[in-house]
Each structure stands twice: as structure tokens, then as C-alpha cells.
Subunit: 317 residues, 2 copies
């Protein structure tokens, strides 16, 4: 379901490093060469390139990219080149300091649309890079209902097995329905269930919720004025149960209407290209009757456009 | 600061396995042989013994111990033989199902008196053995203020560097003092600070608390009727900042007065023998003017006594 394409055979890592180094030389930078290499290497290949680059040229590749590239293109290449856990740690660090609705969504994505092990790797990287814990920063920079939801989400290490306890699914669907009916959306039981149960268990609970009470839980969470918090709850549920639909929506909002939200567009594409971007694009086409690549071509330009198209498996034509 | 003693040179692991296997043969069991081997091997040596034992005899050593040994001695040998993270996962699993004050202390110990990495290993082991997450079980089986404190404690992955932000230490000492003065002991800011800050940062905050406001924070937390929760808060602070004093107290309560709390005594000795049991014993002597080994000899007997004395570095005489 990844859109990333890697050539067969993959060139030797030394050649990749030499070609990147050449692309940085002389007047200007050869952006196309950079895209043709980095946008077509997977995480472990990019890691090897970084390691070999610093051994060969005595310079950190990330620093070279930072000094050679700028704006949306530079940001996309840099975020992409990082290991996913490093990238998420950086995105979380930036998001937590904003403490805006947008920042909260980034935290939700990292906490809910990654595997338990991946989220833990983000927390390890956060320690290493920022000399703090992720949950410490989230707890310090948020407040109220947002804090109540976000801190346990980013601290979770959910069980990731497929086992489901149907008795529990029934009783917890009932609890969710009761609390939602009472409009007690920030009730600690809602938060407990959403922040601690395994994804398999939550899927069973929410399927039962719909069968038993008639609506998708997210529909029942859509009818109240406490809008920001409710939107965050809905996003939590979507990221946990159908991330491709969540990311379709983020990309849709980023490209539709006046202007483009490059930050969101870049984030989704770099973080899903190696995961499930194909499914995000299928959802996009279903929902919008136009392929994502068409909207990206219309909304972006130059090397930034080239980078995004390469990551979603399309050539810039 | 460990009390564990390991012979030099350590016998070959095959010999240990053969001697254990012999100790299980025939009428009765040779408990002394079991103590002389297992109580004098460190974690990685015990792991090797378990691995070699199952390879050699086709039987899990833990199962053999379970069928050969019983009561307090059997429990001590079994808990000791487990890898510390497996042991803690098991202790936490048992504790969470009790949902009593005693169970809460066990959770506090595991959450606060281990390193961040060790606590995470406990969470991994909890997944593997119980097909659930530790925080999921804690959240499900606790309620109210206990839940508010325990869930973030067991979910924490605290930064473990030595850096301290003194400005933050001052501001958070003030917050703690304000909330305690208002008797708002379950205030989310108290919980945030205690459950997310690094141990180094908390030490700085609590030192400033004492300098600025006159009392040890635990003294200020000792004067209210909401006793159980306050006692848990004080234990949290003690486990985070001076675990040897916390464990001295647990051992003292386990041995003093009528009867002995074998469960607590075993737990402290098996979990600290390889860590800081020497310091716990120094504290014990300072506080009680009698060596811990004397009180253990008076309170326990037989192989159980032999096992505990071996773990604290004393021969059974």
C-alpha cells in the first residue's frame, strides 16, 4: 500500500552519496538529482546513505540539505530523509509548542496512526534529541480537556495483538453510548477506553456501538458546540480505526479551496508514502472524483511538486 | 550497592543445570543446592541457566521449580529466577487485580523505582505474557484519584538525563506548594509534575520546595484525612527520589510487629538484591539500630530464611 518506488537494482550507497554530493556542488543545486535519489529510497536505504555520506564527506547529510534547499521543497526533502521516528519526534516537538488545533492533530496522528512500537521509538528519539519526554512536553503545553486526551494518547503502549474480548466490547460500547448521550464527552471512561484499548479491541467495540445504537460513533460526536475537542475525539477514533480516511481528509482540506496548506500536505505524504499512501489516494479518488496527483499538480509547482509526485509514485509530467 | 554475591569463577552453565536437575530428582528436593546455585547468579546468568535447562532437559526451569517448591520459599525462588522485567510484569498483573492499597504500592514501585528503560521492558513483557497493556489494566481496575495518579505513572517514559532547568524547578515547586496549601492534593498540576518530570528535575524541584517553603514536601503531605491517596503520593515521591528509604520502610513494616508480611519482604529483597539492597540495609540499620539480617532470622525460618539471607549476602548461620 506504499507509493514509494525503489529502483531494481538499487545503486550502491556510495554512488548515491557521490551523486548527492555532486548535486550540491558549484552554482545552484541539482534538485532533480536529489529527488531522483532520495525520493526513491526506503527508510533503511536512506539511513545507509546518511551514514555513508558523513563517513565519506565528513558532513551530516541533513545539514547539507538544510544549507542547499529551502522553502516547501527543502522541508519536504528533509522530513522525508529523516528516519520516521526522528521525523515524528521533530513534528511532535514543533506541534506541542504551537498548542493549536493543527498542532493537536499532528500529535493525534503520531499517537494513533503509528504502531505501538513506532510510537515508542518516537518517544526514544524525543529523549535523544530534545532532552525531555514527549508526554512531559505535551502535558506542560496543553490544558483542560485537550491535555486529558492527549497525554494518555502519546504515553500509550497499546497491546497490538488481534485478540478481542466481545463481552468487553459490548460493555464498553454501552459506556461510550451512555456518556455520549449525556454529552459527557470528556468523561474519564471515554478517555480511558480510547487511550488504552488495543486497536483490535476498539474496532470490535465501535462496530458493536454502531450495530447496537444505530450510528457511527463519529456521527454521534458531531452534534455539539464544544467543537474543537469533539473534532479531536473524532480524529482520534479515525486515526485508530481507519487512518487512510483520516489522511484523505487532511489532504483534501490541504488542497481544496483557496490556497494550499503545504505543511499538512507535506506531512501526510512524507509520513504515509512508505506506509499506506496508495489507500489514502484511493480514498481521495472515491471522495473527490479526481486523482490526488491532479490536485497536487494544480496546487504546487517546481521542485516541491516534483518531490511530492515522486513520493506518491507519479512522474512530474 | 547490590547484595547479590556471585562466585569467581562462575561454574559453567551446563554444570548449574545438571546440579539443579539433580536437586529435583528422587525423594524430596535438595533446597540447599537450589539456593546455592540460583541465589548466587545474576540476571544474565539466570537467563542462560533457563535457556540451557530447557535445551538440555526439554523442560522449562520455571515449571520445574513450580512443581518442586512451594509456599514462601517457592515463591521467592521463582520470583528471583525470573528476569526483572518478567518479574515486575507478573507482580504488576497480580497487584492490579487486587486493587488494594498494597497492590497500589507494588505499582508505584514498578513505575517509579525502576529506570525508564526498565519500566518500558515491563510493559513489553506485560504485552507478551498477558496480551494486554499494563496501563490498560491499571486504568480498568482502578478509579478516582488512584487512577488519575497510577495510569500516568505506569505509562511514563521519563527523560533520564541529568540536566535540570532551575527556572522550572522554582516555578513548579511554587505550584506544588500552592496546591498542597489549598489541600488540592489530586490537582492535575501536582499529578502532571510528579508523573512526567525526569528524576533529576524532580529532585531539583523538591529541594527548592524544602528550601523555599521550609518543609519536606512529604511532611506537608502528611496532615490530611484523605489518607490512602496521600500515602500513595508520598510513596511516589519517595520511590522517585530516595528508593532505598522507601524500601527500608516496606521491609520495616513487613518485619515489625506481630506476624510477618512475607509477600512484601520477598518482593523487596528479590527486586533490590541486584540493585541497591546494601543501601536499603544501611537505611534499615540507621532507622532500627538492628541489622536487617537479625530481623529476618527472627521472622523467617527454613529454606525461605536461607534464600533471603543468601540474597542479602549473608550465610544462614
Amino acid at each position: 500500500m506504499a507509493t514509494l518506488t525503489v529502483p531494481h537494482p538499487v545503486p550502491p550507497v556510495g554512488d548515491d552519496c557521490d551523486n548527492l554530493h555532486k548535486a550540491f556542488q558549484g552554482w545552484g543545486t541539482n534538485e532533480e538529482a536529489i529527488i531522483s535519489i532520495l525520493a526513491h529510497r526506503n527508510t533503511s536505504q536512506r539511513n545507509s546513505i546518511r551514514q555513508t555520506y558523513v563517513e565519506t564527506y565528513g558532513e551530516d547529510l541533513m545539514k547539507a540539505l538544510d544549507s542547499e534547499l529551502s522553502s516547501d521543497f527543502g522541508r519536504a526533502v528533509q522530513l522525508w530523509t529523516l528516519h520516521p521516528a526522528e521525523r515524528d519526534a521533530l513534528l511532535a516537538y514543533e506541534a506541542v509548542r504551537k498548542n493549536t488545533a493543527n498542532g493537536h492533530y499532528v500529535l493525534i496522528e503520531i499517537a494513533c496512526a503509528r504502531s505501538s512500537h513506532e510510537l515508542f521509538q518516537v518517544r526514544e528519539n524525543y529523549h535523544a534529541r530534545f532532552h525531555k519526554s514527549l508526554e512531559e512536553d505535551v502535558a506542560y503545553h496543553t490544558a483542560g480537556d485537550f491535555r486529558k486526551l492527549l497525554v494518555p494518547l502519546v504515553s500509550a503502549y497499546r497491546y497490538d495483538g488481534a485478540e478481542v474480548n466481545m463481552t468487553l466490547a459490548h460493555s464498553e460500547a454501552k459506556i461510550l453510548h451512555e456518556k455520549i448521550s449525556e454529552k459527557a464527552y470528556n468523561h474519564e471512561e471515554i478517555i480511558r477506553i480510547l487511550t488504552t484499548r488495543s486497536k483490535a479491541q476498539l474496532n470490535a467495540t465501535l462496530t458493536h456501538y454502531k450495530n447496537q445504537f444505530g450510528n457511527d460513533i463519529n456521527k454521534d460526536l458531531k452534534t455539539d458546540p464544544k467543537e474543537d475537542y469533539l473534532a479531536l475525539l473524532r480524529s482520534t477514533i479515525k486515526c485508530l480505526t481507519c487512518p487512510e480516511k483520516y489522511f484523505e481528509k487532511v489532504v483534501r482540506f490541504a488542497t481544496k479551496g483557496l490556497g494550499t496548506d503545504e505543511e499538512a500536505l507535506t506531512r501526510v505524504i512524507v509520513s504515509r508514502a512508505e506506509v499506506d499512501m496508495k489507500r489514502v489516494m484511493e480514498e481521495y479518488y472515491k471522495r473527490n472524483s479526481v486523482p490526488l496527483e491532479t490536485d497536487i499538480k494544480g496546487d504546487t509547482s517546481g521542485d516541491y511538486k516534483g518531490m511530492l509526485l515522486a513520493l506518491i509514485g507519479h512522474h512530474n509530467a
